[in-house]
C-alpha cells in the first residue's frame, strides 16, 4: 500500500503559485497570473482526484474498513518530550473528501475569476491571495496534528482577511475584513486554550495518539482529564468545548456568526470559495476530526454541538427570509446549512449504523459545497451584470442570463431538498439521524428545511422573475465562457453529487453504512419544501404588494429579523463601550497620569530637593568656613551632651 509523498504537492502547488505571483506577479505576470493560478489548481485538483481514487478504490480499505494513514510526519517545533507540532499528512475518508471538494471548488473559482476579475489592477495579487488561501485550506485538511491544524487555521483566517479586504480602498471592505479576522480570532482563543487543556492531559498533540488516549476506556490519560474539573465541568468537556468554540467561529455558528454576512464585501468568487465550500466548513471538519473523542468519551460536549447547530440553522434561516442583499441571503443560508452539518454530528454516535448523523453531515458538506458555490458564483454573475447586490435592482433576468438562470434554479432545488437533486439525499440522512436521536432537533430541522425552500425561492424569483426583462437596458451580456463553464460544471454536480456513495466511503468508524431512508420518511420534508416553494411563488413570482403587507403585519418580529436580531449592536456595545471605553481608555489614562505621573513626580521631587540644597554650594569661602565651624560647633555640642 503506498500513498506516495506527491500528496504533499496538493497544497504545495498553490503555495508556489502564491509565492511566484505574490513576489513577481505585479511586474511580470500582470495578465497571465490568472492562467498560472488556474493551471496550478488544475494540477492540484487532478492529484486530489487521483488520491481519492487510490484511497477509495485501491488501497484505503483494509478488511473492509477505511484506515487512517499517516503519510508523512516531520517534527517542526518540539515543546517538550512527546509534545511537538509536527507537520504531517493524515489521510482518511474525510480528508480525502475535503481535498476533492476544496481543490475542485477552488479550481472553479479560479476559472470564474478569469472573467469576473478581468481588468482589476491588482489581478496578480488577487490570484496570489487565492493561492495562499487554497494552500492554507488544503494544509488544514491534511493536518495530522492538532497544533498543525491550528497553524493552518490561522493562515486560513489571514488569507480570508486579505481576500475580504481585497477592495482595500472601500472602508466597508476594510471594516468587514477586520471584523471577520477579529471575531474568528476571538473564537480561536478558545481553540488555543482547548489545545492547551487537551495536550496537557494527553501529553501529545498528534491526532492519532490523542484520539487513542482519550477514547480508550480506563486509560490513565482519560482518567486524569476527567478527574480534573473546573466549575463542575470535567477537563475533557472544557477542552472539547473550547476547541469547538474555534470551530464555531470559523463555521459562523451562533453567536460567533456576525462576521459572515459582512464578509460579503469581498469579491463574489471569493465568497463562493471561502464562505460556501471551504473555510466555513472548517469547524465542521474539526469536530469531525475529533469526533471519536466527542462521541465515545464526552456526549455532553457533543450535545452542545448539537444544540448550537440546530439553533444556528433555524436562526439563520429566519434572518435569511428578510434580507434584501442577495449575497447576505446566501450568507445566512450558508450559516443555516452549516448548522445542519453541526447538529447532524451532534445527534450521531460512533459505531456502525448509528453513525448515520456523522455520515449525513459529511454528505451534506459534500453536496452543499457544490450547490452553494454555484449559488454564489451565479450571484456573482448577476452582480457583474447589474452592478448591485440589492434585489430591488434585479428581476426579470432569466431571458438575459439563461445559463445563470438554469444553473441557479438547479442549485435552489438542490438546497431546498427536492429529489433527485443532491441536497435531497444528504438532507434526508440528516433528518433521519435526528429523527432517531432527538425529536426536538428533528422538528427544528424540518421547519428549517421548509424555510430554506421559501427564502431560496424568494431569492430566485426576485432575481430572475418579478419584473419584466426590459428594465435592464444597456447592460453587457452574461459574461465570458470562463464564467459560464464553472456554472455549468457545478450545476451538473449539484444534480449528481447525491449519487456519490458517501455512505459507504465516509463514515465515523470507517465501516460502510447500508441502511437507506424509507420513501415514506421523505414525504413530509419534501412536501414542506414544496409548500415553501409554492408560497414563495405566490409572493414573489410577480411583483405585488402582498410581501410588503405581510412584513408590516408581522411588525416587530419582521423588523427584528431584518435587523439580524440586533446581535451586531450587542457586539458593538461590548467592544466599543466596554473594551474601548471601560478598559482601554482607563488603561491609557492610568498609564499616562498615574504610573508615568508617579515617575515624573519622583523626578520633580529630586529636582526640587537639589534646587533646595544647591544654595549650600555657593562657592564662597566665607560660607564654607561658616558651615565648617558650624559643623564643628554642632559636633562638639553633640559630643558634650551625648557622651555620657
Amino acid at each position: 500500500m503506498s500513498h506516495p509523498i506527491y500528496i504533499a504537492l496538493i497544497p504545495l502547488i498553490p503555495l508556489a503559485c502564491f509565492l511566484v505571483l505574490g513576489l513577481f506577479g505585479r511586474k511580470y505576470f500582470t495578465n497571465s497570473a490568472g492562467i498560472i493560478g488556474t493551471l496550478g489548481l488544475l494540477t492540484s485538483t487532478l492529484i486530489s482526484l487521483s488520491t481519492a481514487y487510490e484511497y477509495f478504490f485501491v488501497s484505503g480499505k483494509v478488511n473492509g474498513v477505511f484506515q487512517k494513514i499517516e503519510v508523512a510526519k516531520f517534527t517542526w517545533l518540539q515543546f517538550s518530550p512527546g509534545v511537538s507540532i509536527d507537520l504531517g499528512i493524515l489521510i482518511d475518508p474525510i480528508t480525502v473528501m475535503m481535498l476533492v471538494v476544496v481543490s475542485f471548488v477552488s479550481l472553479m473559482v479560479h476559472l470564474f475569476s478569469l472573467g469576473y476579475m478581468k481588468g482589476e489592477t491588482r489581478f496578480a495579487t488577487y490570484y496570489a491571495f487565492l493561492g495562499l488561501f487554497t494552500f492554507s485550506m488544503l494544509g488544514l485538511v491534511l493536518s495530522s496534528n492538532i497544533f498543525q491544524i491550528y497553524l493552518f487555521w490561522e493562515l486560513v483566517g489571514v488569507s480570508s482577511f486579505l481576500l475580504i479586504g481585497f477592495y482595500f480602498e472601500k472602508p466597508s471592505a476594510v471594516a468587514a475584513s477586520k471584523k471577520a479576522f477579529i471575531v474568528t480570532r476571538f473564537a480561536d482563543l478558545g481553540f488555543l486554550i482547548g489545545i492547551l487543556v487537551l495536550s496537557f492531559y494527553s501529553h501529545t498533540l498528534d491526532f492519532g495518539v490523542l484520539i487513542e488516549r482519550l477514547t480508550t476506556a480506563g486509560s490513565p490519560y482519560l482518567t486524569a482529564i476527567n478527574a480534573a474539573s473546573f466549575l463542575g465541568v470535567s477537563g475533557l468537556t472544557w477542552g472539547l468545548l473550547l476547541v469547538f468554540m474555534g470551530g464555531a467561529g470559523k463555521s459562523a455558528m451562533f453567536p460567533l456568526h456576525i462576521w459572515l454576512p459582512d464578509a460579503m464585501e469581498g469579491p463574489t468568487p471569493v465568497s463562493a470559495l471561502i464562505h460556501a465550500a471551504t473555510m466555513v466548513v472548517a469547524g465542521v471538519f474539526l469536530v469531525a476530526r475529533l469526533f471519536p473523542v466527542f462521541a465515545l468519551s464526552d456526549p455532553a460536549a457533543l450535545n452542545v454541538v448539537m444544540y448550537t447547530g440546530a439553533f444556528s440553522a433555524f436562526f439563520a434561516a429566519v434572518i435569511a427570509c428578510t434580507q434584501t442583499d442577495i449575497k447576505r441571503v446566501l450568507a445566512y443560508s450558508t450559516m443555516s446549512q452549516i448548522g445542519y452539518m453541526m447538529f447532524a454530528l451532534g445527534v450521531s454516535k460512533y459505531n456502525g449504523e448509528d453513525g448515520l448523523g456523522y455520515m449525513g453531515s459529511m454528505f451534506h458538506l459534500f453536496t452543499h459545497a457544490f450547490f452553494k458555490s454555484l449559488l454564489f458564483l451565479g450571484a456573482g454573475a448577476v452582480i457583474h451584470m447589474v452592478h448591485s447586490n440589492e434585489m430591488k435592482d434585479m428581476g426579470g433576468l432569466r431571458k438575459l442570463m439563461p445559463i445563470t438562470h438554469i444553473s441557479f434554479l438547479i442549485a435552489c432545488l438542490a438546497i431546498a431538498g427536492i429529489p433527485p437533486f443532491s441536497g435531497f439525499f444528504s438532507k434526508e440522512e440528516i433528518l433521519m439521524a435526528s429523527f432517531e436521536s432527538n425529536k426536538l432537533v428533528y422538528a427544528v430541522a424540518l421547519l428549517t428545511s421548509g424555510l430554506t425552500a421559501f427564502y431560496m425561492f424568494r431569492l430566485y424569483y426576485s432575481i430572475f422573475w418579478s419584473k419584466p426583462a426590459d428594465t435592464h437596458h444597456g447592460h453587457h451580456g452574461e459574461g465570458t465562457w470562463s464564467m459560464k463553464i464553472p456554472l455549468i460544471l457545478l450545476a451538473i454536480l449539484a444534480v449528481v453529487a447525491g449519487f456519490v456513495p458517501i455512505a459507504s466511503w465516509v463514515t465515523a468508524d470507517g465501516n460502510a453504512i447500508h441502511s437507506s431512508v424509507p420513501i415514506t420518511f421523505s414525504i413530509l420534508p419534501v412536501s414542506l419544501a414544496i409548500a415553501g416553494i409554492l408560497l414563495a411563488t405566490r409572493l414573489f413570482k410577480t411583483a405585488n404588494e402582498l410581501p410588503q403587507r405581510i412584513a408590516i403585519q408581522m411588525g416587530g418580529i419582521y423588523k427584528a429579523a431584518s435587523r439580524k436580531f440586533y446581535i451586531d449592536e450587542v457586539y458593538l456595545f461590548v467592544t466599543k463601550k466596554i473594551l474601548f471605553n471601560l478598559i482601554g481608555r482607563p488603561a491609557a489614562w492610568f498609564d499616562k497620569n498615574i504610573v508615568d505621573g508617579f515617575m515624573n513626580l519622583l523626578a520633580k521631587l529630586t529636582a526640587n530637593l537639589s534646587e533646595l540644597i544647591k544654595g549650600f554650594q555657593s562657592g564662597k569661602v566665607q560660607d564654607y568656613a561658616l558651615y565648617f565651624f558650624g559643623g564643628i560647633a554642632g559636633l562638639i555640642i553633640a559630643f558634650i551632651y551625648l557622651w555620657k
Binding site: F168, L196, L579
Partner: protein, 499 residues
C-alpha cells in the same frame, strides 16, 4: 573562535568612522563593519554547531579568561552558549538594518554612526560576558549612546524623553549593581575569595535568605530594561522621540539586554528566590501583557502604538521566565529574538512612512498601499508577525510560551496563561486598526500621491529583518535546537533549588 573579535570589529569600525571624510564614506564604513559583524555572528553559529556536533559538552564554548583586576577577582571572562548566540545573531541583524535605514542621516553623521556602532559594541560585550561585573560594564556602555541618540537626533520632546530614559535605565543599573554586589559578597570560592564569575557562581548555593534579598534588585533592575510594569514608561516616550535607527536598536537590542540579564543573572544564579518570587514575576508580566495591549489600543501615534505593544510583547518574555518551566523559558528566549526582529521591522516601516509623509498620526494617514506598496507590505508583515501569524516568528515564540506556561500547574499561572492568550486577540484589534487605517482605506491626503516607495537601502534593511523573521517562523527547530541546551542548564539549576 575568538570571541573578542566581537569587541574588536565594532571598535575598529567606530575608529575608522572617526577618520572618514563625508557621509558617503561614513555610512560605507558603518555598513561594511556591520556586515562583517553579521558574518562573524553567522560564523560563530556555524563554529558552535560544529563543536556541539563534534560532541563538545561544555556549558560554555570558546571561553577565554583574563584577569582584569586581580585583588577583587574581576575578570574578563567570555564564552557563549546557544542563548547568547541567539542574542548575538539578533543584534547583528538589527545593526545592519539600523545602519541601512539611517542611510541619509545628514546631521552630525559621524557622531551618529559612531554611537550606533558603540551601542552594538556594548551589546556584544554584554552577551559574551561570563563575569557579571564585565557584563555590567558593557550594559552601561550600551546606555550612554541611547541618551545621546535620542537627545541629539530625536524629535518632539526629545530632551525630556532622553533624560527620562537615561534616568530610569540608570535607576535600573543602580538596582542591578546592588543585586550583583549581593551575589558577589555571598559567593565563596574554594580559595575563600569572592567572585563575579557566572560559571563559578552557578556551582555554588547562595543562601536562600540572601537570595531573597538580592533577587528583586537584580530582577527588577534588569526588568526595567525590558519594560517591566510599572517601570515601563520610558519605553513609549523614548521610542517616540528616538530617530528610527535608535528606536530599532532600543527595541531590538537594549530591551533584550534586560531579558537576558533577568534570565542569566537573576534567575540562573538565584534559583531559590526565583521560585519564591515566581508569582510576583507572573503577576507583573501578566499586567504588562494585558495592560500594555489595552493601552496600545488607545494610541494614535504609530510609534506609541509600537512602543506600547513592545511593553505587551516583552511581558511575554518575563512571563516565560517567571513560569520557570523549560518550555516557557525557551519560549522567552525565542520571544526575545522574535520581538527584536519584528519590532525593529515595525519601527523601520514607521520611519519610512514618517520620512515621507511627515506624520505618524494614524488619523492623518490612509491608503498608503496604493502609493507605496513595498513599505506598506513591510508594515503589514511586521503587523502580522506581531499578531502572531504562523510562518512568522511571533507565532512560534508565543505558542512555546503558552505551552510552557500551561505546564505550570498553579491556578494563578493558568489564569495568567489564559489572559496572555487573550491578549493576542487585543493585539489583532490594534494591529488591524492601525493597518486598516494607514495602509488600507481611501487616500486621505492628496499630497501623499506623489510620494516615492522604498529606496534600495530601505528595501535591503527590510529584507534582512524579514528574512530573520521568516527563518525563525518557518524553521523554529533551528532556533530551538540552539537554545534548548542552554535553557536545560538553567532548568537543572532551578530544579536543584526546589529540593
Amino acid at each position: 573562535m575568538n570571541l573578542t573579535l566581537f569587541l574588536l570589529f565594532p571598535l575598529f569600525t567606530a575608529l575608522a568612522i572617526l577618520f572618514a571624510q563625508n557621509l558617503k564614506q561614513i555610512r560605507s564604513i558603518a555598513l561594511a563593519g556591520s556586515l562583517l559583524q553579521l558574518g562573524l555572528a553567522v560564523k560563530l553559529l556555524l563554529a558552535f554547531n560544529a563543536e556541539r556536533a563534534a560532541g563538545n559538552p561544555a556549558q560554555m564554548l570558546f571561553e577565554y579568561v583574563q584577569d582584569w583586576y586581580a585583588p577583587l577577582h574581576l575578570q574578563y571572562h567570555i564564552g557563549v552558549d546557544g542563548i547568547s548566540i541567539a542574542m548575538i545573531l539578533l543584534t547583528s541583524f538589527i545593526v545592519v538594518a539600523g545602519i541601512l535605514v539611517s542611510w541619509s542621516m545628514e546631521t552630525l553623521s559621524k557622531e551618529f554612526f559612531f554611537l550606533l556602532i558603540l551601542l552594538s559594541l556594548g551589546a556584544y560585550g554584554f552577551f559574551i560576558s561570563l563575569d557579571i561585573f564585565t557584563m555590567f560594564f558593557f550594559l552601561e556602555v550600551a546606555v550612554i549612546p541611547k541618551f545621546l541618540l535620542i537627545g541629539i537626533w530625536g524629535s518632539g520632546k526629545k530632551e525630556y524623553s532622553a533624560m527620562k530614559l537615561a534616568l530610569m535605565l540608570m535607576g535600573g543599573s543602580a538596582l542591578i549593581m546592588v543585586g550583583i554586589f549581593g551575589i558577589y559578597f555571598s559567593s565563596h570560592t574554594t580559595s575563600g575569595a569572592h567572585t563575579f564569575d557566572i560559571l563559578l557562581l552557578s556551582k555554588m548555593d547562595i543562601p536562600l535568605a540572601t537570595q531573597k534579598i538580592f533577587f528583586p534588585f537584580a530582577f527588577i533592575g534588569f526588568g526595567i530594561f525590558t519594560a517591566i510594569f510599572p517601570f515601563h514608561t520610558w519605553v513609549p516616550d523614548g521610542h517616540a522621540s528616538a530617530p528610527t535607527a535608535a528606536s530599532m536598536f532600543l527595541a531590538g537590542i537594549s530591551m533584550k539586554l534586560g531579558g537576558y540579564g533577568c534570565l542569566r543573572v537573576a534567575t540562573f544564579l538565584m534559583p531559590g528566590a526565583a521560585h519564591e518570587y515566581s508569582w510576583l514575576i507572573i503577576l507583573l508580566a501578566t499586567i504588562a501583557i494585558i495592560y500594555g495591549a489595552f493601552a496600545t489600543m488607545m494610541q494614535t501615534d504609530l510609534k506609541y502604538i509600537n512602543a506600547y505593544s513592545s511593553v505587551s510583547h516583552c511581558g511575554f518574555v518575563l512571563l516565560g521566565i517567571g513560569m520557570l518551566t523549560q518550555t516557557s523559558i525557551t519560549g522567552a528566549v525565542m520571544q526575545m529574538v522574535s520581538h527584536g526582529l519584528m519590532t525593529a521591522l515595525f519601527f523601520a516601516a514607521i520611519g519610512m512612512i514618517y520620512s515621507r509623509t511627515h506624520t505618524r498620526m494614524v488619523a492623518q494617514l490612509g491608503g498608503l498601499l496604493k502609493i507605496m506598496p513595498f513599505i506598506s507590505t513591510v508594515f503589514v508583515i511586521a503587523g502580522l508577525s506581531s499578531l502572531g501569524l504562523p510562518g512568522f516568528s511571533g507565532f512560534v515564540s508565543e505558542m512555546t510560551i503558552f505551552m510552557g506556561s500551561w505546564q505550570n500547574p498553579e491556578n494563578m499561572s493558568r489564569l495568567a496563561t489564559i489572559l496572555a492568550c487573550a491578549s493576542i486577540v487585543v493585539t489583532a484589534v490594534y494591529i488591524l486598526r492601525a493597518a486598516g487605517k494607514t495602509i488600507m482605506g481611501p487616500i486621505t491626503n492628496s499630497h501623499f500621491e506623489h510620494l516615492t516607495d522604498a529606496s534600495w537601502n530601505e528595501k535591503f534593511a527590510a529584507v534582512v529583518l524579514i528574512s530573520g523573521i521568516l527563518i525563525v517562523g518557518m524553521a523554529p527547530f533551528l532556533l530551538i535546537d540552539l537554545i534548548q541546551p542552554g535553557t536545560q542548564i538553567i532548568i537543572n539549576k532551578l530544579g536543584v533549588a526546589i529540593h
